[in-house]
Point group: C2
Chain length 422, copies 2
């Protein structure tokens, strides 16, 4: 086997490969020999790693191995190297969610044509076993929703905003200081990373092709400490959720999105703290399941990679391969306007007769049913908090747009946050 | 394929087999044909099931199928039928924890010799995918502890004792009324069911043979509402835990036991409510993981059976089989006296000078280190609550035995409860 990449994850994979070869052999059923580690700077010193294993020539390395583990990350050269490995008959283990979200189908099909494995447990939710459970354990069931906290950076930031009342920027700065967020936090805080994982989860759960670009995406940068405090007063916690669900029509479409949402504080996902991840699955027969664990980090991610490596090694030892990605349902993706969620909408209104009726009539006109209303006096008017029943996104947005035009009643900004897991 | 048993689980498996054959075929890669259902009373009416499929002749049925699903339960005839199926070249899916706890190694070895699959996701924690995660996802890691709430009946009873302050017998009666507990609740409340699951979890996690009889077992029948209320006052929840852990020696032994324990209320296992199950895994690289879901019931268990059926069907379609049970580490089982846990010990003492010193000296003499003490005045003396650091079970029991002899200080019964998950 060959290892591509020797950074945070790769160095941990190398350590695990080299530290207990006997265990590894017993579990695979034959020895696993590391023939080389492809890196950008083969001359850099790497403690514990034989310099003779290091090479800058990844193109050649991948043709010399029966299994290639890719932990470089990013689209290129990862994509080209994996293609080359597959085309040379190697099985591949990757932790690269961005690559699978962008080029998954190309790679899944190439692997299937070549009769090799492409495993990627580490690409979603780090060390949490979720790919195998979806692809194998639940394959005899009908999954209706997968919903997860799949980005540790944003969960840490939201946690700090919740427990310490920090602003988004203060919590981000703290996360950066502690190494939980990168200098350029865009991929995390704008939801790109979670969207890549959502597309993989949706593809697995619904047996269809979902790309990262199919995922509606909203980040957490506009959330305020007040949004979070208001949610908390109502008994909710704000999480950045990746949600993939089947619409209720025949045939169903896939609604897949990443956005902050209020989650009831007694929901299992509400208790996911710090940089932990969790994936909540609703299926027709198994009911509600949750998978919780560390969502990132060198050793946890390496654990997931090693599990795949042993499985792929076992398969090769008996001349077979594991289940391929199936996309037989060929579901279409519902636009975000067709998504159905509850909303919590808060707005300041004039404290004068008829205002509540005026506001409520706007909801009614657009068919958005109100579940609860709370009006509290405020300095320069009244604060209205409105919880809706599940409603079509397009109708909620039409409601909010029209509310903005009710200038005689509505003062200032209208805040809205989706509510999930009720 | 053939189905053995058509009760709570079997009828759900039959339903799933018959209701979406196209999905099943797409997922397996070839059709799955149900050739017969073996039942004790083939003439009984079963709605939705073609009477022509029913047979009382299980011995013959298992020789006519390439895959046999066993959901009869119990040791015999399940064992003999599975052996017969394997020896005739069939792969087997079973939900039978008692059978695997008693005869697992015989069946695993028979399957391996015959080159067929023996899958049993449904045997532990119902619909929760835990067998595959342990056997495949975490196979490149070193698991150090598996700890779970794996019996829904006892969890429901303890939940009722906790939230409503019920006595054990009142909570049991309620559970029986609601169908959560059987008329003869022994297997659940005495921990036999959990012990069977613990032995399977330990075998998987530590790559060794652990039988149900290797599991130290204590039930929940002697717990009182006051035990649970006292735990609650200290910030703990009482759960019936199945614990399998490696001892800290070289080579490690396996400590495996089922008993009630106090779990800190912020531990993920503390939030497992009602008839839900959860398994908490500690591993060297992946860190802490938890798997949560419905632990029993017809449809959830059938979901796990169907996942195995699809996997086994895929394997047969490509002429291969999945990973066999490995037992290469050949670990020995540590006796309960060598288990290390914290204890909470409460006792009534005379409220007179020197008593605390006298009691504390008994702990010290046996090398049991005290982590916290709380003394509260009581009607006829003083109540002492003592939390120990982790200590050898044998030393704790010696301490308690000697405390009983301190008749000048100790009044009445000494209560003790293990503490896990701190």
């Amino acid at each position: 086997m060959a290892l591509l990449g020797c950074g945070v994850v790769g160095s941990q994979v190398a350590r695990l490969l080299l530290e207990s070869p006997d265990d590894l052999q017993a579990r695979v059923g034959r020895p696993i020999e590391l023939v080389g580690i492809g890196v950008r700077h083969p001359d850099a010193e790497r403690p514990g790693i034989d310099p003779g294993l290091l090479t800058g020539d990844c193109e050649s390395l991948v043709t010399r191995a029966d299994i290639v583990v890719e932990v470089i990350g990013g689209l290129e050269p990862a994509r080209a190297l994996i293609r080359r490995a597959i085309d040379h008959g190697a099985s591949v283990v990757t932790a690269n969610k961005a690559l699978l979200a962008a080029h998954g189908p190309e790679l899944y099909q190439a692997a299937q044509r070549a009769g090799v494995d492409l495993y990627f447990e580490a690409a979603v939710a780090g060390a949490i076993p979720i790919v195998r459970p979806l692809r194998e354990s639940l394959v005899g069931d009908e999954i209706t929703t997968v919903m997860g906290v799949v980005n540790g950076t944003t969960n840490y930031i939201l946690d700090q905003m919740t427990t310490d009342g920090l602003s988004f920027s203060a919590a981000l700065a703290q996360a950066q200081e502690l190494g939980y967020a990168e200098a350029d936090p865009t991929a995390d805080v704008e939801g790109y990373d979670a969207a890549a994982k959502a597309s993989i989860l949706a593809s697995l759960a619904f047996h269809t092709e979902i790309a990262g670009d199919d995922v509606h995406r909203e980040g957490i940068t506009t959330l305020t400490a007040e949004d979070i405090a208001a949610a908390s007063r109502l008994g909710y916690v704000v999480k950045l959720l990746a949600v993939a669900t089947l619409t209720e029509e025949e045939p169903p479409r896939v609604s897949v999105r990443v956005h902050p949402a209020m989650v009831p504080s007694d929901h299992p996902l509400a208790s996911v703290r710090g940089a932990y991840n969790a994936v909540f699955v609703e299926s027709r027969n198994a009911g509600h399941l949750m998978f919780l664990g560390p969502g990132a980090g060198g050793a946890p991610t390496a654990s997931a990679v090693m599990g795949d490596l042993v499985t792929v090694g076992r398969n090769r030892a008996r001349g077979t391969h594991g289940p391929a990605m199936t996309a037989y349902t060929n579901r279409s993706v519902a636009p975000i306007g067709d998504a159905r969620t509850s909303y919590y909408i808060s707005l300041m209104v004039q404290d004068s007769p008829g205002v509540l009726a005026r506001v409520a009539s706007v909801f009614g006109k657009h068919g958005v049913s109100i579940a609860a209303v709370r009006q509290t006096p405020a300095a320069d008017g009244a604060m209205l908090g409105i919880m809706t029943h599940a409603a079509r996104e397009a109708e909620v947005q039409d409601t909010v747009s029209e509310l903005k035009t009710v200038s005689s009643a509505v003062i200032g900004r209208i805040r809205q946050l989706r509510v999930e897991g009720q």
